[in-house]
């Protein structure tokens, strides 16, 4: 608590108690005033809760085939309707969200770890800068989606047999997305490292005999955390779209493990009779990614040191 003595009239003093201010407290304060970001946060929380808790409450099986109730429009028994096999779309959308969001989070976690490591090494050690940045530029000019399609097609069966159908496909999609999307984070971290390592506090740390690893982890890395956090937030949205694109092209998860993209892939031949089947998973992706992007935008404003408030 920070206290200030304020001289009052008639010679008395009053003490004004202000809560101490922290970086994250300030950021949260300014984030809360970003209306779209707050709306995004609320929507995303609801969606995540629905995918986590929803299947426990709405205990409809996702893979039970019931041709008598196929292609039904939304009703009380099936609030999102059913697909051509009579499977309940609400249950499938909630389960699919789990997979889609998990893929998004895991692949971004991997990508920022990789990107931060490469960016930090390139920015801190001058000798590594050129080769590592050449590598980054090279990866930036790779045709991402074609390579994703090809590698998933080639390695899907092998991984499915060694690690099981669910874990194998999950790990592969997450891994391949991470390997092909770490580059922007690496560039960002490198640029910050290049400017920060010239600063006095780094010089001071070196003067008292800190090791390179201590300077990197204790002194520089915390300062690049906020731009990385913003990039990671936006990245989750991108990864969810990439995963659903793969599933939509038929090269993602198998049909008995629905994801939002996979449900759309199955729905695309029934657009004329049951458009709801395609619109529901599409809206799920749209709302999730939109909320994530708004949160990212709010975070960017909230963590911007140049902000006036």
């Amino acid at each position: 608590m920070a206290t200030t003595d304020v001289p009052m009239l008639r010679g008395t003093t009053a003490v004004i108690v202000r809560p101490s201010r922290t970086l994250w407290g300030d950021a949260w304060h300014s984030f809360r005033r970003h209306r779209l970001a707050m709306a995004g946060l609320v929507t995303l929380t609801l969606i995540v809760l629905a995918t986590l808790v929803g299947p426990l409450v709405w205990a409809q099986p996702i893979n039970d085939i019931d041709f008598a109730h196929g292609l039904e429009t939304p009703s009380l028994t099936h609030p999102f309707g059913t697909d051509n096999l009579g499977q309940d779309l609400l249950a499938r959308a909630m389960f699919g969200g789990r997979v889609s969001i998990a893929v998004g989070l895991t692949s971004v976690l991997l990508a920022i770890t990789l990107g931060t490591a490469i960016g930090a090494l390139a920015g801190y050690f001058g000798r590594l800068d050129n080769p590592l940045m050449r590598l980054t530029d090279l990866f930036l000019s790779l045709p991402v989606l074609p390579l994703l399609l090809v590698s998933i097609f080639l390695f899907r069966d092998a991984l499915r047999t060694t690690l099981g159908p669910e874990v194998g496909v999950f790990l592969m999609i997450v891994g391949v997305i991470a390997i092909l999307t770490w580059m922007p984070v690496a560039r960002l971290v490198r640029a910050s490292f290049l400017s920060l390592k010239q600063k006095e506090f780094v010089e001071a740390a070196r003067a008292v005999g800190d090791t390179d690893s201590r300077i990197i982890f204790k002194h520089i890395l915390p300062n690049v955390l906020s731009p990385v956090l913003v990039a990671a937030t936006i990245g989750v949205g991108g990864a969810i779209i990439t995963e659903s694109t793969l599933s939509f092209l038929g090269l993602g998860f198998p049909p008995d493990q629905p994801t939002w993209g996979r449900i759309l892939f199955d729905a695309k031949d029934y657009l004329d009779t049951s458009p709801h089947w395609a619109i529901i998973p599409g809206l799920c992706i749209f709302l999730t990614v939109l909320s994530i992007n708004f949160i990212g935008d709010g975070l960017r404003d909230a963590l911007d040191p140049r902000k006036t408030s």
Partner: protein
């Protein structure tokens, strides 16, 4: 200037060599057997299959096979498709114009919409127009291309019955009526990518202009008595567009990815649709060829962006 372009070209070549190596390595270390289509045929005895394998050079280690493959590619030979038994390069060249047309027109649409929207958005920041434009571009970012495509089909083909949802590749433009039909069937695929491009470009142009608006040179221009139009278009927009060019180049792989999806939805005979089909057919020469062509396109567009950057920004020296 000429030397600068030449130097960029020389840098692009090793990039392409490494990319081709990566593509080949992925194909070579994968557990998929390139002879699988023969392997499924029970009439081929194992010793014959072994002889085919040796005659195709498949008994050699893959780095050697890569060198042979790369040498023949350098001479313009991408091999033969397993499925159609015709040269890969011919098939690609036949389909490439369709892909380039969709991507190119979508970029033009994006620029045509994004320039005025982004400019207005930045100049009148936090106005109703800005909020509307920001909301729309956020929507454009969050809508995956395949969902936009399906939404367009549901709205314009199924509900309103205005546009056809299958692209008829046999349509020849001979008169006004067939030109109209061509226009009608091209609108949706182009708008799917065009909408995405508009969203991205609007965002870039708006934020770059916002960076430039409070700068000293803008105040100088105003105090010289220049009209607001000249200040905004002649000074601010011109300077803001320089970094936008680089941002566009970085987005090229995403747009080609979007083209694959769009071609798949509307059945446009481009290289993206062929890629998905060849992947499912296990047609390895075709897959390798198309991925390589995508890589060439991305590198080429990056090169163009670099050159455009140098032309636009006089501070870049051509030494």
């Amino acid at each position: 200037m000429g030397r600068y372009i030449l130097r960029r070209l020389v840098i692009a070549i090793p990039t392409l060599i490494v990319i081709s190596f990566v593509i080949y390595a992925i194909l070579a270390i994968s557990p998929i057997d390139p002879l699988a289509s023969f392997g499924n045929d029970p009439r081929v005895p194992p010793e014959v299959r072994e002889r085919i394998r040796i005659s195709l050079g498949l008994d050699q280690p893959w780095p050697i096979r890569y060198v042979k493959w790369a040498t023949s590619i350098a001479q313009g030979d991408l091999g033969y498709s397993f499925m159609s038994h015709t040269p890969v390069l011919g098939l690609i060249l036949q389909r490439l114009p369709n892909t380039l047309a969709v991507v190119g027109v979508a970029y033009l649409v994006g620029i045509a919409f994004a320039l005025p929207i982004g400019m207005l958005s930045a100049v009148k920041r936090y106005s109703i127009w800005d909020n509307l434009a920001t909301t729309l571009s956020f929507a454009g970012f969050a809508l995956p291309t395949f969902f936009t495509g399906l939404l367009f089909i549901i709205i314009f083909s199924i509900s309103l019955k205005w546009l056809p949802f299958i692209y008829d590749s046999n349509l020849k433009v001979t008169d006004l009526a067939s030109f109209g039909a061509q226009l009608k069937q091209s609108i949706m695929p182009i708008m799917v990518l065009g909408f995405f491009n508009t969203a991205v470009l609007t965002r870039y142009i708006r934020s770059e202009m916002l960076e430039h608006l409070p700068l000293d040179y803008v105040r100088t221009a105003r105090s010289k008595g220049l009209s607001e139009r000249v200040v905004i278009i002649g000074h601010v927009l011109r300077n803001s567009l320089i970094p936008v060019v680089t941002l566009i180049a970085l987005g090229v792989p995403t747009v080609f990815g979007g083209a694959i999806v769009t071609e798949q939805i509307f059945r446009i005979p481009g290289i993206g649709e062929q890629l998905v089909r060849s992947v499912f057919d296990g047609d390895i020469p075709m897959v390798a060829g198309i991925v390589l062509i995508f890589a060439v396109l991305v590198v080429l567009f990056n090169l163009l962006a670099d050159v455009a950057y140098a032309v636009l920004d006089p501070r870049i020296k051509f030494s």
